[in-house]
Amino acid sequence: MSPRPGFVLEVDGSTPPTLFWNGERFCQEKLPEGSRVVYAPEPLEPLVDPVAAVRHALTHPLGDSAPLPALLHAGMRLTVCFDDVSLPLPPMQAPDVRQLVIEQVLDMAAEAGVDDVVLVAALALHRRMTEAELRHALGDRIYEAFAPHGLLTQHDAEDPENLIHLGTTEMGEDVELNKRAATGDLLVYVNINLVAMDGGHKSVATGLASYRSLRHHHNPSTMRHSRSFMDAPSAELHSSNWRMGRLIAENGVKVFQIETTLNGDTFPAQFGFLQKREWEWSLRDRATYAATSTALDRTPSRVARQIFHSIRSPHAMTSVQAGEVEAVHAVTTSKVWEQQGVEVQGQTDIVTMGLPYICPYNVNSIMNPVLVACLGLGYFFNLYRGRPVVREGGVLILRHPTPWEFHPGHHPSYIDFFEQVLSQTTDPEVMSKVYEEPFATDPWYIHLYRTGHAYHGVHPFYMWYWCAHALEHLGKVVVVGGDPRAVRRMGFAPASTLNDALEIASDVVGRSPSLTHLHTPPLLMADVR
């Protein structure tokens, strides 16, 4: 039986309560009658033989690229770059897609006699991956073959010796990249395309870039003019990366792009109820939900966090394509939409969402308040094509505990951003002008980024900029169940229950608003007509 497409339910008197994520917990809410609930499509069938599919993609490239074996020869300098720990979410069960793909690339390189191969984790300004994370992404075999010889590297956006400035685009955007990747004979980039904005020219132009380059598109203006990030033709973020990508190509940097898509099989069997529609829950699902939910409610947050971060997703590969960047990405994007797209008729006054424990920037870490905002207003709000699910001036209601808590090793500049910047302004433009540069060039943050496992000093600004479109669009943001102090610090309204949140929202949208709940994750993208 083929998987069912996404679905929009209209809530009536017989609809069971709707599951909301709530950080490391869940809850069920009785939504008002007439509300809509948007469910993701069921997981697509995975590739039967992913390794064979990878080999086929590498030997049958898209666009004007030659097959990978034809691009490999003895004496060449090959650089294989790959997405970092921020993808996929949650981390997938072994073997990771990156391992599957890179093993085939390396086999072909070995067959061609290539012996100068360097692997680069495309961190951009993210934290460096730990050994365990690298081993998980690449497999022990690759790790053991490369890491001890210094051939498994992580992009360092603050290492002037290992950066090269390729020029500026017609819009004056600097393009500064990892020197090894940009000056080798071939750059192979291995993507995991979890959402539609992943991949394309963004892989190299962002993942291997420096602050000098990134600031041209990671800024409030670009973010406000990306409607949405997931819809490339409407995203200035996309346009900027495309300009950079073309400049990279004009500079003779030969990129062989490999993109992979995953199905929506996000959680292991014991959390199967998270992927089902509530009225289809079996007795076993209901019992599992009740037991899990009760146990989590009694579990200290720190322990619950450890439990959730140990989850390995059963994500399976649904497609792999390789070759020229733009031709590859066009196919990839259609595959992502095939898995995640849901047609939604018209906008709504209120959109609700339960935020889970994880976002791209807190893998094995703490979801601090800035990341809560980014996940809700940056990522989930932008899971649309056409128009936002919520109308302009409408209300976004999030559910998340939003603890005033930070990982001091991973997010040191976030602590200061929250204390010293958000306490002064929540306006992305103002903070960009007044505060960004001192954070971006702070020597201590740079030191921690380069030598520890810290996100770059400017990273919390980028997280806030991701929210810029939503901040401009929405009339109010309400956070249910969050730490009131943390919620208020971000300029949002705290509420203790969903009913309280609806009451607060009534100031903006009146007493009889329309309401749509995004039942995600699993990830979905609303095609709003």
């Binding site: 001091p408 040191p412 200061d416 010293q420 001192p438 702070d442 201590w444």
Partner: protein, 432 residues
């Protein structure tokens, strides 16, 4: 006439110390302070005047005395019994002359500069410190025709501000209050003068980062002094003035008075690191990180072991820490002071200062009047009490921060028949 008299009474002293352990100012009722009928002291010598107090503030050093927490260092520098109160605005009863030589008609409002230096003590020649205008450092505070007492309010012969009977002051201690200043402004001149002296003692070099630890009266007065004196060119202008303030009203006022950053005390270190682009060592978790750089100057306006320790943590190598709050016996790790070659400076009282703008000596009180007029420090006087309610007043002063207050003062002109506000809700006023 009512007077609050502080007597040498070891039993009451011990009781006050025990009770104050549960909260500063709580031991006023059982300590050595008593409300008595009294008369103004006799004029000790020619050049002395009677002053009738209008308002008299409760200072941190008064609280330390009442709590029996002050250092035994001061034992021989005071004389008993004394009437506390050295922050005083009042009126002169008879024609008088001010410290700057101007005539004061009867009824003129004056602020008392409480230090009892050589001139007040009738000593001629004056000591080297007084000769150079550094009366706060007078070497003769236990000598002359007065009994020991480093200030009015700690001397058995002068009386103090906590009295409706009045006090006596030497003409060298009198400063006329300009018509534009109201009584609340005027009663803050003395603590502002302390802050002015502290800022002048910091030897600012321009473009520096200054941290103010503590946002009580002295802390806020220091912020006001810093901003005004820099604006007026008397000291070099700092780039940043960061203030650690525990309570919301303190944060509001610190910002209004000129702080560039106002932070909760636990966040000051991170802010200083970022502002000074310092590095840090130690594990990022558990609060064990220490700065390798830091602020150029730290004004410690608290004076406890914790605040001095924090100041030493925040200051850069070869930086300056100025002790503004009254310190006593403390237990401190001075390794960083030794290793980083930090200069620790005391800043007591006032005298004359050397202005950067004029390169000439200026009376600290003269500068303080300017600061008060420019910044409106009278807003810090949050509540006033009649003497009869001294226990409440002292308790309020002891818990000022928690109760949304800064400066508590006695209102010596408030007629007893006017019903004061109930004890549970002392009169509070917001900023002007």
């Amino acid at each position: 006439m009512k007077t609050l008299l502080f007597e040498r009474n070891p039993a009451r002293f011990a009781a006050s110390r025990v009770v104050s352990a549960f909260g500063s100012g709580r031991g006023a009722g059982i300590g050595p302070l008593r409300l008595v009928e009294g008369q103004a002291p006799a004029l000790p010598a020619p050049g002395w005047q009677h002053v009738d107090p209008i308002l008299s503030g409760i200072c941190g050093s008064d609280l330390a005395t009442l709590d029996a927490r002050s250092s035994r260092y001061f034992e021989d520098l005071v004389s008993f019994p004394f009437v506390p109160g050295h922050e005083v605005v009042g009126t002169v009863a008879t024609p008088a002359r001010a410290a700057d030589g101007t005539d004061l008609p009867p009824g003129s409002r004056v602020v008392v500069e409480p230090v009892l230096g050589c001139r007040a003590r009738g000593l001629d020649p004056v000591c080297d410190e007084c000769a150079q205008g550094r009366t706060g450092s007078c070497r003769m505070v236990a000598f002359g025709h007065l009994r020991p007492g480093l200030q009015t309010g700690f001397c058995a012969d002068t009386g103090g501000g906590w009295s409706t009977a009045g006090l006596v002051a030497h003409e060298s201690q009198l400063h006329a209050v300009p018509p534009g200043l109201d009584d609340r402004d005027a009663v803050t001149v003395e603590p502002v003068a302390c802050a002015v002296h502290a800022v002048m003692s910091a030897a600012l070099r321009g473009g520096e980062t200054v941290v103010v630890v503590g946002a009580g009266t002295l802390g806020l007065a220091s912020v006001a002094a810093l901003s005004h004196l820099a604006r007026a060119g008397h000291v070099a202008e700092p780039t940043d003035v960061l203030v650690g303030a525990r309570y919301p009203h303190q944060r509001t006022w610190a910002a209004e008075l000129g702080a560039t950053d106002v932070l909760a005390p636990e966040h000051v270190s991170r802010a200083v690191r970022r502002r000074t682009r310092s590095m840090a060592v130690g594990a990022p978790s558990g609060g064990g990180q220490r700065l390798t750089g830091g602020a150029d100057v730290v004004l410690d306006c608290v004076g406890t072991a914790a605040s001095i320790g924090q100041a030493l943590d925040l200051v850069r190598p070869r930086g300056r820490v100025v002790l503004v709050g009254m310190a006593g016996r403390v237990h401190l790790d001075l390794a960083s002071l030794w290793h980083r070659e930090v200069t620790l400076v005391g800043a007591y009282a006032y005298g004359t200062e050397l202005s950067r703008r004029t390169a000439a000596p200026i009376s600290t009180f003269s500068l303080a009047f300017d600061v008060v007029a420019a910044t409106g420090t009278g807003r810090l006087v949050t509540a006033t009490y009649p003497l009869e309610r001294f226990e409440e007043a002292v308790a309020h002063a002891g818990s000022a921060g928690r109760r949304g207050a800064v400066k508590i003062a006695f209102d010596l002109k408030q007629p007893p028949h006017k019903a004061p506000p109930p004890a549970s809700a002392p009169r509070k006023e917001g900023p002007k």
